[in-house]
């Protein structure tokens, strides 16, 4: 009966070619500015997005990113990013979340570090099933 999380979709962005990484970052920056996040929060959200889309591009062979503005039952506003790929998936989630581990380019802080930049972090993956990472940053 109570209003739960209400969402406003603000678009789906392809992550297919390298140029898409920059476009995705721009889209997230614009959404974070529109939502009224502080400079520090904007920077954290865009950095998290950059890590996630690069992971999807490099490890997942491309995918999509969705940006939504969300609101929880307590009336807090937030920004939700969902990055999905149809790649090989992650076999050892615990290892992927550990700092310093990476199976591709980068420093391996893709997931463990990204988790610290956001408030909510959800990883849905299995070998052969692709990977979906959903993160939310709430406005203080």
């Amino acid at each position: 009966m109570l209003p739960d999380e209400r969402t406003t979709p603000s678009g789906e962005h392809p992550v297919r070619v390298e140029e898409d990484l920059l476009a995705a970052r721009h889209a997230v920056r614009a959404a974070a500015v529109a939502a009224g996040f502080s400079i520090v929060d904007q920077t954290k959200i865009v950095t998290a997005a950059s890590e996630l889309v690069r992971n999807a591009y490099i490890h997942g062979g491309g995918g999509t990113m969705t940006v939504e503005s969300v609101r929880d039952a307590a009336g807090r506003h937030g920004l939700r990013l969902r990055v999905r790929d149809e790649g090989p998936g992650i076999a050892d989630v615990e290892q992927a979340m550990t700092d310093g581990f990476s199976t591709g380019a980068g420093l391996g802080h893709g997931l463990g570090g990204t988790r610290r930049l956001v408030d909510d972090f959800d990883l849905d993956t299995a070998p052969g099933r692709g990977t979906t990472v959903t993160v939310v940053r709430w406005k203080p």
């Binding site: 920077t43 954290k44 865009v46 950095t47 890590e51 420093l107 570090g113």
Partner: protein, 130 residues
Amino acid sequence: MNAGLPILRLGDILLSGLMSDLDDKTALAFTDELTTRIADEGIRGVIIDISRLEIVDSFVARVLMQLAGTGRLLGTRMIVAGMRPAVALTLTELGLQLTGVRTALNAEQAMELLGWRRPAEAAEEAPHAS
């Protein structure tokens, strides 16, 4: 290979800046260009101004760390200057400390670290030039 980013030479120092929309290809081309010039021109110090970078993610961090490492092997001091407060906070939270990279508040302080003196300060130090 040319990244299209200006690299200025002041004596034996190279001064360059990264742009806000740095993409992966440009970053890698920039590394190559800088490394070649360090080796070819006998460069003693390199300053990379990043004050226009709105984010530094793990990829850019890795580029900077590798540049610093390569520079050290070639006998050059590399200084990353002008990181924004929000970027410093985010990098720290991400767990990246840019190990091995020297930093300065801005390009001017980086120049001083490399031994350049501001004309005004040099004048102040002149023995009682009344």
